[in-house]
């Protein structure tokens, strides 16, 4: 399921706090902020990459499969197919 913006914000904040704790104590605030922002950028890039891949592979495949299924399913079997989908989502 998609993560909401607030969830992501919370996780990014948590990540930054943790990352900050791992930085050497002698780092200045400016250096620290730069390092944190770089780490955050990197995290975003990785997230986006993962998201792109995930949506292409998983959601895209599901959508395609659904369409194929629809195209191949006689109208009178649609109800059963939809029920299956509904159950799989609810499961």
């Amino acid at each position: 399921m998609a993560a909401t913006q607030e969830q992501l914000e919370a996780r990014y904040r948590e990540f930054l706090v943790q990352f900050n704790a791992s930085l050497p104590a002698e780092m200045s605030d400016a250096e620290r902020e730069t390092a944190l922002k770089k780490a955050l950028d990197e995290a975003l890039a990785t997230d986006l990459e993962n998201l792109s891949v995930r949506h292409q592979t998983e959601i895209g495949a599901q959508a395609d499969a659904t369409l194929v299924s629809v195209a191949a399913t006689p109208a009178d079997e649609h109800a059963a197919a939809l029920e299956q989908i509904r159950q799989s989502i609810a499961a």
């Binding site: 993560a3 909401t4 990014y12 943790q18 390092a35 955050l40 895209g60 959508a63 939809l82 609810a90």
Partner: protein, 637 residues
């Protein structure tokens, strides 16, 4: 805004089947309304630049389910939902889903409004960005209608104009994609990839629309696309917001306008892990034993960590790339690695760097089953061989001096002592034995360095700044790996390679028969030589590998090395390929009856359908008679 209402998030765990089954068609309409708003066409209210803090509600899972269930229930009772606007209140049904999604269709058959050819159940409504009716709206007049929306709603659509086709929808989605790409314009960006993905999905949507009666399935399809968009936007928005709020004061991180984050564990799992991998806090860092470990023990434990958790290789590789990319200082890198992965792992990684090796060396060691002790030996300076080390260091200095004066192109001439070393040794009055030893060492180091360059050229590495021990380690590991691979290659495949290599064009444009000659210098069971061979063309390497099998004790103890080599080659290539051993470079040269390391070179080629093994005196090819032995023989005279 996300999270304000748990029921409105995609992360909301689905309700039970029973609960979903009870969803009403009116609730389904809510889902469709949300879809319209979420898809953002036309007239998406929130633009990307306003992303921070302007996130959009997503489609609730329960709503998605409801939308799918809706057609079933709607079959029995399609709800009539009225809206207090100037336009006709639409029925939300499969047939008018296009309108529900926010665009109008021209019933020209192309877009296949109801595939059975019937007219739409309702009149198209124009206010595409007009909120669709909600359950509340059905019971009460809309509270937040904007003048704009009202104006649009007051403009009924005619059949001739103000319609939207799938082409237009596609154009609109392209525009949305472009907005994403503006944030990250690189063609290789995730935004571009998602854009391409969505483009493909839209094309598919267009294709299927005409042939699919069940619009709820199309809706499901569209939701899948929308989910991708939404999460993508969420990530951008969250990043932008957090980055803008980030403050560091006195080494502590704070976020302006921060709210206490509340993330349910189940929801947290949905977040891509890579982004939220947490560096362990200080208390999680493996504690330092009371008795400090020796360097070798530390390295051994570090290696063991990789053996026990091979995924660590990938992770540290990524972290290292990150360090390099962002120019993290080396000492800081080490510290970070120690904090994150423990002192032993960090020490091992550091030793690798000092050794001039990379993580692939570790993976190969693991693959080959090296023990921690063996791995440590390969990385740690060989303390027990101090004399040898000193010789190597001295030889390395000499080699570097020679290399500075040597044309790089000339380095392909193997097995020759760097000229500078030779000249110096020929003129100075060092004891004869010492001169010979120096020359031998220089020759050996130069040869190994050359081999190492061959090995690592594809890795973009240079041998000039690497210690000799690293070169040897790399060569050993590479040779061992390649030999293993070779031994696993069926003879038939090798034979096929040989047969397929009968014609090549050399650098002068001349067609030759098979491989260029491979100079094999040194002991026939030398892994370095095998490695060098294997780095050349695969065919050639396979052939040399046949000889490399002579690493067996049988070969090492056999006085007739050439005979063994011949037998091995025949055995390897079988009776279909003739094997010929030529002893001597040409007819004028005295036949060589035995092979001696340092005196002879061995070459393997494929000529006229034969695998040819050549053995010749070192340096005799150019007539300079500059092989090691003859040089000093002349000097002595």
């Amino acid at each position: 805004m996300y999270g304000e209402s748990p029921a409105a998030t995609l992360d909301q765990p689905p309700a039970t089947a029973a609960a979903e089954t009870n969803l009403s068609a009116a609730t389904a309409a809510i889902g469709e309304r949300n879809l319209l708003a979420e898809m953002g066409y036309p007239g998406e209210p929130a633009a990307l630049p306003d992303m921070p803090g302007a996130g959009q509600d997503s489609i609730g899972v329960s709503e998605a389910v409801a939308a799918e269930v809706a057609p079933l229930e709607a079959t029995a009772a399609t709800p009539e939902v009225s809206v207090a606007t100037d336009v006709a209140a639409p029925n939300i049904s499969e047939e008018n889903l296009p309108q529900a999604m926010g665009y109008q269709f021209v019933p020209d058959g192309k877009n296949a409004l109801p595939a059975d050819g019937t007219e739409p159940a309702v009149e198209p409504f124009a206010a595409a960005n007009q909120p669709l009716p909600t359950a509340e709206a059905a019971a009460a007049p809309p509270q937040n209608e904007t003048p704009q929306a009202t104006a649009e709603a007051a403009s009924p659509v005619t059949a001739e104009g103000e319609t939207m086709s799938l082409d237009e929808l596609e154009a609109q989605m392209d525009a949305e994609t472009a907005k994403l790409q503006e944030l990250d314009p690189s063609p290789a960006s995730a935004a571009s990839k998602l854009g391409a993905f969505i483009g493909g999905k839209i094309a598919s949507l267009k294709e299927k629309w005409a042939s699919t009666k069940d619009r709820s399935e199309i809706l499901r399809f569209a939701r899948a696309i929308d989910a991708g968009y939404t999460e993508f936007k969420n990530a951008y928005a969250a990043h932008s917001k957090v980055k803008s709020e980030l403050r560091v004061e006195n080494g502590r991180v704070s976020f302006s306008g921060e709210k206490p984050p509340v993330v349910a564990p189940a929801q947290a799992e949905a977040v891509p892990q890579r982004a939220v991998e947490k560096p362990p806090v200080a208390s999680e860092v493996p504690s330092t034993p009371e008795q400090p470990l020796s360097r070798n023990e530390l390295l051994g434990k570090g290696y063991e960590n990789f053996v026990n958790n091979p995924a660590l290789l990938t992770e540290i590789s990524k972290v290292s790339e990150f360090f390099e990319k962002h120019n993290i200082a080396p000492d800081l890198q080490n510290e970070l690695l120690a904090k994150r992965y423990g002192a032993d792992t960090a020490a091992f990684v550091q030793a690798l760097k000092e050794d001039g090796s990379d993580l692939s060396f570790v993976s190969e060691m693991i693959e080959l089953g090296f023990s921690p002790e063996e791995a440590t030996l390969m990385l740690a300076p060989r303390e027990s061989a101090a004399g040898e080390q000193a010789t190597e260091a001295e030889a390395e200095n000499q080699t570097e001096e020679a290399a500075a004066q040597t044309d790089p192109a000339a380095r392909v001439e193997r097995n020759t002592i760097p000229q500078a070393v030779l000249e110096r040794n020929q003129t100075r009055s060092a004891p004869e034995g010492r001169v010979a030893a120096e020359n031998t060492a220089a020759l050996e180091v130069a040869r190994r360095r050359e081999l190492f360059e061959q090995i690592n050229v594809h890795k973009g590495m240079s041998s000039s700044d690497l210690p000799v021990t690293a070169q040897l380690n790399a060569m050993r590991a590479e040779a061992f790996r390649l030999q293993q691979k070779l031994q696993a290659t069926p003879p038939e495949e090798l034979e096929r390679h040989v047969r397929n290599s009968t014609s090549t064009i050399d650098k002068n444009g001349k067609e030759s028969t098979g491989w260029t000659t491979f100079e094999y210098d040194g002991n026939i069971d030398s892994p370095e030589a095998t490695s060098a061979a294997l780095l050349d063309t695969s065919v050639k390497l396979e052939a040399v590998g046949a000889v490399a099998r002579a690493q067996s004790a049988e070969f090492a103890n056999d006085s007739d090395k050439l005979g063994v080599a011949e037998r091995l080659m025949k055995e390897r290539f079988g009776s279909n390929v003739s094997v010929e051993v030529r002893r001597g470079n040409d007819e004028n040269e005295q036949p060589i009856t035995s092979y001696e390391q340092g005196k002879h070179s061995m070459s393997i080629s494929y000529e006229n359908g034969s695998v040819v093994l050549k053995v010749q005196s070192l340096g005799s090819e150019d007539g300079a008679s500059n092989n090691l032995e003859s040089n000093f023989t002349r000097k002595e005279k």
